[in-house]
């Protein structure tokens, strides 16, 4: 498997994994902590979508599925498949509880990406490619243009029935 193609495929898979699981777990619905509300309102003021803003704020303020995906990929790379993913899931769970979050998004993201990494290892994708892929995915959501990516996240939230009620 050519490395560049592998990184691109891993980026797409990680993006889908973390966005879909986070949206399903209700991240765009409400800010989990007050810091997330601040960031969400800031993005709204700069022309973005409020639900997408709450999503971005929740990513910053608590380990969610994006953190779970990256840490499970790191675990699988350095500790081994699948033990690394399970260790990452348990540490993400403790991190979530310290941040006043029940912990469903992070552990679910970590466990699903561990299964995916184990499955795609048979077609040649290594955990390293998933680390780079997840970095590219988080760059597209949080590193390019926050209002546009928040509008995209808001559209996905509306489609999955998780749009926010807060004005």
């Amino acid at each position: 498997m050519n490395e560049i193609i592998g990184i691109i495929i891993a980026a797409v898979i990680s993006w889908l994994n973390f966005v879909l699981i986070d949206t399903w777990m209700g991240l765009p619905e409400a800010p989990g902590v007050k810091g997330a509300e601040v960031i969400g309102r800031g993005i709204q003021k700069r022309g973005g979508d409020l639900a997408g803003g709450f999503f971005q704020g929740n990513i910053v303020c608590s380990p969610d599925a994006s953190a779970g995906t990256l840490l499970a990929a790191i675990g699988c790379f350095a500790i081994g498949i699948p033990e690394g993913g399970f260790v990452a899931a348990i540490l993400v769970f403790f991190g979530n509880r310290i941040c006043a979050d029940p912990g469903y998004a992070g552990t679910t993201g970590a466990l699903t990406i561990t299964v995916i990494i184990a499955a795609t290892s048979y077609i040649g994708l290594t955990p390293e490619m998933f680390i780079a892929g997840m970095m590219i995915a988080i760059l597209t959501i949080q590193g390019l243009h926050h209002p546009s990516s928040s509008k995209l996240l808001g559209k996905i939230a509306k489609k999955m029935g998780r749009y926010t009620e807060i004005k």
């Binding site: 690394g84 260790v87 348990i90 769970f93």
Partner: protein
């Protein structure tokens, strides 16, 4: 199925969790509830602890493996029933509304 060790650990954690009267699933909607249940977090903790013990080198391929996995599952269920609430108290999303009204003299 190569990873029988994990299945044994999860199953023993779940069985002991049900015996200790942990609920099977958290209350609906699942994503907002803080209750410790059998599926979450007991099963996840059992997987994690088994993975840690396996990578520390204690699970070599002998018959003791299954007993160790059983013991890990039992200890995980006991931990999540009695000690999880004390280490990580459930905070219901930070009461931020009552501390934003401080009067400025």
């Amino acid at each position: 199925m190569i990873y029988i060790v994990y299945i044994i650990a999860i199953v023993s954690a779940m069985v002991l969790g049900l015996i200790l009267k942990l609920p099977l699933l958290p209350e609906q909607p699942i994503r907002k509830s803080w209750t410790t249940s059998v599926v979450f977090p007991t099963a996840v903790l059992a997987l994690g602890f088994t993975a840690m013990v396996s990578k520390l080198g204690y699970l070599t391929s002998t018959n003791m493996d299954y007993l160790i996995a059983l013991a890990i599952g039992v200890l995980t269920a006991i931990f999540s029933k009695y000690m999880l609430e004390r280490f990580l108290p459930p905070q219901n999303s930070e009461e931020s509304s009552d501390e934003s009204q401080e009067a400025s003299p």
